[in-house]
Symmetry: C2
Subunit: 310 residues, 2 copies
């Protein structure tokens, strides 16, 4: 098997499930994660290590991680908002930690009641914890509101790049950029990822794009053309629907994989099996709306994965 | 007022209304077209000149054209499938004719019961009619199924480019490419529009993209980067929903204009007024679903048109 051209990092089991009111039973989560793995997904953000009273949907985080790490070839990632979360995540045996750090000063204070400088200190503390407890575990900083913020509007690009560089200097292995509220446009995506790569080289991380205004795939296209090779996405577009019904948050994994595969960019993911992974998601969250155009429309007639279509 | 960077050609009143079962009353059509014009839209495909028994939604085509041509600065376009339609359209006073010519041999026979060669003859006949009756009227050939076909699957690129060139040789002023069934991907869009421009130069026409598999805006982004300057789109994504609820056909005008304006590419269209143009559309087609992510989510905080957002 050849190495895929890009890595699609599935965030549904964390980002998606955290955003819906219902709690998916643990057994369903595991079935869903198994189906994603069977489709060829090789990185999954499976849980968030936060107090269960805040996010009951994530109360089984450690159990989910312990199952996920048994799946061959899978990088198991968990979100940690702080040191305490990182300790629990490391104890559970995750392969990778992701920590959200907001580029918007207003959003950082509103969301985690910390300044950006305090969050850089938190990244440093987590990096040290990781070094002491599990040095093989990767640490990613996800720069949220990197393309704008519902509280303060524009977020200066210089501050985004400064923050990403500070996170890496504090010990993160990589820093990616997140369009948390769906404000990004392709020209901005190009500019910011170009600057990020110029600043961080191979430590420039994932593109986490939202489809709030319909630009999710166009922004991913701009990102790949700037050298981004890791793309966050959520099966069924689950998660992050802060505005209105129909306005999905995360980029839909199925549509993203279809776009790249149709372009001849290999993802290592089997599209038919990926579409089949919607069944356990829907079974575990009855009545919850799921999105995606490719699943509705089906694959084009004569579409063969791995073949460049004329 | 400076010249916009691109032209967004609104196809809703023809392509959209033709695809829904209900017939929008003429007075509502005119109100909708007025609202589109007020928003700054400068080209509208207002009607299709086909027998009323086939498409009762278009029975008022001549009346709609006669109103639309009174709006200052507006290019009024009509679809004509054949000579007879072209005669009626020219008599009504349109500024531009668009004629669909299918690149898929199978689709051409199934759709209009003519071979592609017979359709080229039809283009020639219409071009001559136009020259004799109204030489100032423009004639566009829209190469449909240019990116694939539900009947035959892949459509060879050589045949697409050949057909576009034949249409121009037969007298069309320009030839554009249509992703009639939503099969296109950005790499293919780049290749085909690059070849089209190499073949036809300034006679390379519009990109008519569908959003059937969610790639509509990504394909428009690829097209603009290949020099395309005219983009077809439909307000509320009206029209072309051959598959399933939620799987909209045409690219949504609101999302397309938001993407380009956010990128600093001027369209000449006022986004707030464009969103307001949804009201007469919805009033004229009560109960009909309309699409669009930007209208659901609203414009970003602090978004100012004409300003490049950081």
């Amino acid at each position: 098997m050849t190495t895929p051209d890009i890595l699609v990092s599935e965030v549904g089991p964390r980002d998606g499930l955290q955003s819906v009111k219902a709690t998916m039973p643990t057994a369903d989560k595991l079935r869903w994660i198994d189906a994603l793995h069977r489709a060829g997904i090789r990185e999954i953000e499976v849980a968030s290590f936060v107090p269960a009273r805040l996010l009951p949907q994530m109360a089984d985080a450690a159990e989910v991680v312990r199952h996920a790490v048994t799946l061959p070839g899978l990088t198991v990632m968990a979100l940690v908002p702080n040191r305490r979360g990182a300790e629990a995540a490391l104890a559970s045996g995750v392969h990778k930690l992701t920590m959200p750090v907001s580029a918007s000063a207003a959003h950082s204070l509103a969301n985690v009641r910390k300044t950006r400088e305090e969050m850089i200190d938190e990244v440093r503390a987590i990096a040290e914890l990781r070094r002491d407890l599990a040095p093989h575990v990767k640490l990613e900083a996800g720069i949220s509101t990197a393309f704008g913020c519902t509280l303060q509007g524009d977020v200066p690009e210089d501050e985004v790049i400064w923050l990403a560089a500070q996170c890496v200097a504090a010990g993160a292995d990589e820093a990616g950029l997140s369009d948390t509220v769906g404000y990004a446009n392709p020209a901005q995506v190009r500019r910011l990822f170009r600057r990020l790569r110029a600043e961080l080289g191979d430590r420039a991380g994932a593109a986490h794009m939202h489809n709030t205004r319909g630009l999710g795939l166009a922004n991913c296209l701009a990102a790949i053309e700037e050298g981004v090779r890791t793309f966050d996405a959520s099966l069924g577009g689950l998660g992050g629907c802060p505005y209105a019904p129909g306005a999905s948050g995360n980029v839909v994994t199925e549509d993203l994989v279809f776009m790249f595969e149709a372009m001849g960019i290999s993802t290592g993911i089997d599209l038919e099996k990926l579409l089949a992974a919607r069944a356990p998601l829907m079974a575990g969250l009855p009545g919850e709306p799921v999105y995606g155009m490719t699943p509705e429309a089906g694959l084009p007639k004569g579409f063969v994965q791995g073949k460049t279509h004329v």
